[in-house]
Amino acid sequence: MSENNNTVPKVQRVIAILWPSFIVSGIATILFFTAFDPNEIIGCVGGWDISRMGYYSIGFFLFWLLTSANSVLTCYFLKPCAVNQKK
């Protein structure tokens, strides 16, 4: 597995992190903003005075940040631990 990983270009690994998290954050954005209207949340807790489109977009990128953090961690933990590595 680790041998294979070395042959995978770095860019490909970066995209393998960013792309699935992009898809999932899209789904998360739809679900979240279907349930919550950004304008009403501002009414309750305050926030910047920007359009709904603005909040949707920011929400999408925040979700993307979270989901890519998840992907990065998955990638990181996929690397075998030193103890388990066999020569």
């Binding site: 490909q12 792309w19 209207d37 359009s51 709904r52 603005g54 977009s57």
Partner: protein, 467 residues
Amino acid sequence: MTEKQTQNVEVTPVEEVYAKRKKIFPRQVTGLFASFRFSGVLILLGVYYFGPLIQWDNRQAILFDLPARKFYIFDWIFWPQDFIYLAALLIIAAIALFLVTALAGRVWCGYACPQTVWTEAFLWIERKVEGSRAKQIKLEKAGWSWGKFRLKFTKHFLWLALSFITGFVFVGWFTPINELMDRTLSFELGPWEAFWIFFYGFATYGNAGWMREQVCLYMCPYARFQAAMFDKNTLVISYDEKRGEPRGSRKKGSDYVKDGKGACVDCSLCVQVCPTGIDIRDGLQYQCIGCAACVDVCNEVMDKMGYEPNLVSYTTENALNGKKESLFRPRVIVYVLLLSVMSVALFASIAQRIPLGVDVIRDRNSLYRETDEGMIENVYTLKIMNMDLKNHRYSLAVGGVEGLTVKKPKKGIMVDAGTVLNYPIRVQVDPDKLKTSSTELTFYLNALDSDKLSIEVDGRFLGPVYK
């Protein structure tokens, strides 16, 4: 890709963003399936680019108005509360895709996937500017010159122009396109609109211009799991190995059977036309998107040679092995059943949908209040959503506790079409009638002009219990 697969193809190795790959120059193909795809591309791009321009009742006929949180589909208006319909629609679309895949393989990939459709459009531009496959390969190998720069510049300019029109129309599905056009022409685009136009535009340019088959190979989830829907009766594109092998070149009109050869003339055209750069003669591969370009081109060759067509063809594993084919397998029957049940349920529930919604929100500041007359009072805000296309006046009634009083509007509550009204009401109850500290109330709302528009919603009445 193995050496064997590429031996007949002239390719230039190119360092690509996603993975090391050989740049593929698909050769133009004509024939039955190519015309299917061409008409498919025309229809789908037509729907995409002109769909938002259709008007209906002085508004955009189909508009997924995200800024206003309303979806307009002709006479229907959907609200966020109707999300269940969207979810059901997506499930129906997924089952339909499974069904089509089980029956006919990757027809979605070959004819209808946006990746295929825009790649076709981009390839068309590329051919108009740079010429045929041979010319493109020659141009790619040639050193930089004014002529090469001019051709490349024109191509990328046209690609980018189409991409940004695509991005603009994309945003036009989600925000009224006429206003968007006005704002674009007067350079008054909102920052987010502009952002998404460019975002989608660049995604189109990158995916259809540069990434192409790599999107199918590395990025598409469907490409990875579609094989799960396949069985031995699924239509796949297949090379008839028994008939074709041993392949080899020969003179036209020679008796190849006597020469010990198969029907394949090894012209490598099937490899040249393949948009994912595989050799179909190596068997079914996950890279094959089922576009049937190799079927078209091989049939052309077979015709020229005077051979029977369909050396490469749409066929099934069972047919190739001379076994019986069947259309109605358990898998297909299950998909058809699921699809029909879901579709009927969706349309029945949309048809019976009551375009009226009420949320009962309790006053947050106090649980209850005792009036001067000794009554217990709860305050609520009714969020009344008139999801219909007409204005309506609604009568209000509250039940649940004996002898409750509520101050009701005499003429009913007027809510304009497609709007939400926050309506505060006070409900008073004699404390002697309260048996528990929390009692269920029911709020009834009826449109005065239609019996069908009625709804009941529960709420809670809080109060002290003296007994």
